[in-house]
Symmetry: C2
Subunit: 166 residues, 2 copies
């Protein structure tokens, strides 16, 4: 077996997005049990200048579609950021999982050395696919999934580390 | 270039641990500026049944030493979990960076297919090095670094996404 860019990205994204769907289910069940509206969770944040839960979910999915598209050398799909409910967030995560199902190992083959261009602070920054995936896309993805988890935990949703790891 | 297990682990750990050291510096500066003790931050947590900041830093480093040792097929170094101050946490992170400096690409070569045995819930669970690194060690590592960041942000420490990504 030789290691591929597919191996270190797509299965990781799939597993964590599946776990994220389970966070949403547990949060919804907690809201029903404790009789509060899920809109509280959707709009909650850990600090006034951090983005709310719904933004964490949206940006997590953005890093997934950005990563697999850029590594494959195809345009990144543009999705409007309009999700405001748990159902809509779930649909966005499912849409991202569908997108991952369509990615083949062949389409990412050799992308570790291919140039990827990112817009950062208005400037074009070029890096190779390996650095982009491992030092940008995956850390950002994990950041937003973890922050989504943290917002739910901070609100008392009964999640544990096993839910995070899957 | 062919992708290696070293490529997808060691440089990622190094970068994020370096960023974690910078979080500690900024938190300490914030404590001095706002005149509160860093022990508040060291012991703070996002939920009463989550581990405190110092635990997040300790466990993040545990996943690093666990990952590179298991992939190399050497015993995982055992470190006492006694850090209670920012200086001690910094020393632990630096010790982890020193450990990473000693890891060579050769020592991890081919570890994607080697069996790794983990104790999970008292049972031995065997998985290959690829699944262990990408689905266990790295997600756990990012989880704890992100949660450490989240605790600081929740306390008003002026950190931003750029500090997280480095």
């Amino acid at each position: 077996m030789s290691l591929s860019m597919y191996d270190v990205t797509v299965p990781v994204f799939k597993r964590m997005l599946t776990n994220l769907l389970a966070f949403l289910d547990k949060a919804e069940a907690d809201a029903a049990a404790r009789k509060y509206g899920t809109e509280t969770l959707v709009n909650d944040r850990l600090a006034p200048d951090m983005i709310p839960f719904r933004g964490q979910v949206m940006i997590a999915t953005d890093h997934v579609k950005g990563c697999v598209s850029r590594l494959a050398g195809v345009p990144v799909p543009s999705w409007p950021d309009e999700e405001t409910t748990f159902d809509e967030l779930r649909q966005r995560v499912r849409k991202t999982l569908d997108l991952l199902d369509a990615v083949t190992p062949e389409s990412l083959a050799g992308s570790e050395t291919r140039d990827v261009t990112l817009k950062l602070g208005g400037n074009d920054v070029v890096m190779n696919g390996l650095d982009y995936a491992t030092q940008r896309a995956l850390p950002n993805f994990f950041f937003h999934v973890t922050t989504a988890y943290a917002i739910l935990r901070h609100n008392g949703v009964p999640l544990g580390k096993r839910d995070f790891i899957g």
